[in-house]
Symmetry: C2
Subunit: 492 residues, 2 copies
């Protein structure tokens, strides 16, 4: 879930100079309206890596807004008074009342992380703690509180750069403590924990917003905009019978499409390279899936991608290496009547392979956060909770020994057009192109956002997305095969 | 949570003969309407103790209803097909489609219980498993499925009686297996696990209904009525913007007021007995609260009760034994404006005592499921989720070493009238009686139901209610003191 916050988002000075005053005014207005409305409160949780600029973000928010109605609290070691009472007490005491904004620095997440890194809690305890946090946050949300959780992130290289820069400058060197360098040393070990934590505690009512901290302008504008959107939706007239007081803003308020746009689509293989690699990796895949240890596992492959990106071709290169009795390919289209009569994940659970088996999903349970989101076939609250449910679903599979490999195949708009036209010209491919495909093309931007959100929210430490540069079919097919082979090798 | 299912509910033959045909017709009609509506499905989970009549209950439901639209599935050991896939797979496969009813015998709860009793999972694992179940059930509910969970219960003595009776009769002895007797042997050990499981998985969207299994007629009518109510509310027209498709029927559909009505209010003490006991227990309480081990704990006392039941007097007999620097009494009235601007539990968290401290709540967080429920000051969905939140709140306190003792003081209607009139006659007590008190008297039955539900849902294995027969003030005060002393002794 951290990928898109490690790719170097920047906003130029001139854009910032134009956008900041507008944002500031809007924030001030919303803050005033909130204070008059008696709704909320809005509680902003800021957590993340050392040196990412958590404190600066909080300062910026108070600078932008009316300080009488926003209150920042940093939670460090517990005071005597706090240590004498159950852990949640200090957070309860500090809760802002309706109409107000509160900023909690670190709060309950940091305690859990510190304890785990210290080795004081095992994996099961960690899971139990995070589940309690989910319940706590759900209760706050049921009570009308709007919870915004920001994870201010830096890549390891960026963290080092920032700490060194702060250290060098005599005006800021005091801000770099031994604890900061200790945190840097633990970066790699911590990374898995962060991803775990973000996965387990990103819920429909209180999702995490991961914001890259490298560029101050980007960080401030992004946090400010999410906050603005949240305040506005808190202030919006409520439906007649609201089950829940608040719906958090859709994740895509962050510009994360960079993840997709920055893919290097120029990567290609020659026909000779392709033939050699194909033979090599198909051979390896064949041996791995016939390995006796594979009988204790099973394999689930998920293929998603832009229309005409070559999913079918890639799948055929995979199945070419498999024993036909061992695998099944499941194409996912619009749900049947029977499927619509069951909970969403039912149609996929049906096809979960037995031990030693392989299921290849040509499109998948990600439909809900892709086509169903873009085409508005699902309510916002439904596709928002789908991220959480999907992560749980995959966790249940992986916990039982299932190996899941997920591919997103990406091509450029230009290449897609070329392939569409080619399909129309080739009689035996003509069935593959429909008016709907042309219509989808018109929603290219919406799909880009949906895909980026999907990767952000469901590329977890236990189940990563592999983005495949598919402009060149040869390159794409080999990347797919090699990824499966690598993942199987790790698992067996 | 099992108390009210161990007190011998019975329904006479004649009442059953009158009620059963009516219920049956209503069930059939609702079942038909459900099948036409495309709503639901309704999934009935039946779990509970061996010999309680789980199978007979399922059979009765299918006998009453149209067997084409209700399907019973019993889950035992996993088949080969099931063992080759993740555990949830078989439950997913068996889900009924919209419009239908499904009955799952045992299902996911039995696996968890068996594993824990076998010693294969520790307390933390158990907690984690139960949390996953909660999430799973929440997802089903978000998808429109109505989940009804019945726990068919027997006291240990009743279980023995039933097993013996079945064993004696040659026509039924085949039904009593070694596993049944093994379960009986484990009854006491299992009891705590059952209570834990019921507490952790009774949620607002899928509460447990604990039904005493002793009397077949009572059991069948009770399960049938809850099912009827659930189907009717599933079929009711929906509000404009439903966040959740279903709200389960309020727990009070079960006649559990017997718990309150069966209290023996004739218990009394003479003045001499009272003086002696008062001195004895106040002395013990004084020593215990000054004990050095008490410094690692704290004490929370909760006093709830019928108006004029003598809460104040009982509290004064407690504080008489305490050091004034050590305790604080918190009277809870209607919330202030500041309190209304915060989540419900905020006003109580404020008063959580530090280590070595004592807080006495004169009325408490149970207001939400008592006065706020009866006076309709809270939405049904709010007081329903309050049970869950209260249990979590108390769990958080207890996990940190807080000792909680909760009292419900009960007097008869007649005695209350006498006390009200006496108050009106006594000038210095006149302030204690208001028109509201007289008005509350008119809601005696509603309060009885609310109290019984409260005890059912929040008398957990970690935090029991003590029901105090308060018709005689002497008896009540001594029972309160003795209970506190016993609980403190256990904790220190």
């Amino acid at each position: 879930m951290l990928e898109s916050a490690e790719i170097g988002h920047r906003i130029t000075k001139s854009v910032y100079a134009r956008e900041e005053p507008k944002l500031r005014e809007a924030l001030l207005n919303s803050q005033f309206d909130l204070s008059q409305s008696g709704r909320g409160p809005v509680l902003i949780l800021i957590s993340g890596v050392e040196g990412g600029g958590r404190g600066e973000t909080a300062n910026k928010l108070t600078e932008w807004m009316d300080p009488r109605h926003i209150h920042v609290l940093a939670f460090g070691a517990r005071t005597c008074d706090e240590a004498a009472r159950p852990a949640p007490w200090r957070y309860w005491k500090a809760l802002p009342p309706k109409g107000r904004l509160g900023v909690f620095m670190n709060a309950w997440y940091n305690e859990v992380m510190a304890e785990h890194l210290r080795g004081a809690s095992g994996d099961v305890e960690l899971h139990a703690r995070l589940q309690s946090i989910r319940q706590h946050e759900r209760m706050l949300s049921d009570e009308g509180l709007v919870l915004l959780k920001f994870w201010i992130h830096l890549s390891r290289a960026e963290q080092e750069k920032r700490l060194k820069a702060l250290d060098r400058d005599p005006r800021t060197s005091w801000r770099v403590t031994r604890a900061d360098w200790e945190a840097y040393r633990l970066y790699n070990r911590s990374h898995a924990l962060w991803e775990h934590l973000l996965r387990e505690t990103s819920t429909a009512e209180a999702p995490w917003y991961v914001v890259e901290g490298t560029d101050e302008r980007y960080r401030n504008l992004t946090v400010g905009r999410i906050l603005l959107k949240a305040m506005r939706s808190t202030l919006a007239p409520k439906p007649a019978s609201p089950r829940r007081a608040s719906t958090p803003p859709a994740p895509s308020v962050i510009d994360n499409v960079k993840l997709i746009r920055d893919l290097d689509l120029s990567q290609r293989l020659t026909a000779d390279e392709y033939s050699a690699a194909l033979e090599k990796y198909q051979g390896r895949l064949a041996r791995l899936t016939r390995h006796k240890r594979f009988a204790k596992h099973s394999l689930v492959l998920v293929f998603e991608g832009v229309d005409a990106a070559g999913k079918g071709g890639a799948i055929r290169r995979v199945t070419g290496a498999l024993d036909a009795r061992q695998y099944v390919t499941v194409p996912i289209a619009a749900p049947s009547e029977e499927e619509r009569a069951h909970p969403y994940l039912w149609r996929f659970w049906k096809h979960v392979p037995p031990k030693g088996g392989i299921t290849i999903f040509d499109r998948s349970w990600y439909g809900r956060v892709l086509v169903e989101r873009v085409e508005e076939l699902s309510a916002v609250s439904d596709w928002l909770r789908a991220y959480v449910e999907i992560n749980q679903f995959e966790e249940q599979l992986i916990g039982d020994g299932v190996v899941i490999v997920k591919f997103w195949l990406q091509i450029s708009e230009k290449e897609q057009l070329k392939r569409f036209k080619a399909r129309e010209r080739t009689s035996f491919k003509r069935f593959k192109i429909t008016p709907e495909d042309w219509r989808n093309r018109g929603k290219w931007r919406s799909y880009e956002r949906a895909v980026s959100d999907m990767v952000d929210r469901t590329s977890t430490e236990i189940s990563r997305w592999t983005l495949v540069e598919a402009e060149d079919k040869y390159f794409a097919r080999i990347k797919v095969l090699k990824t499966i082979v690598d993942r199987l090798k790790d698992a067996l």
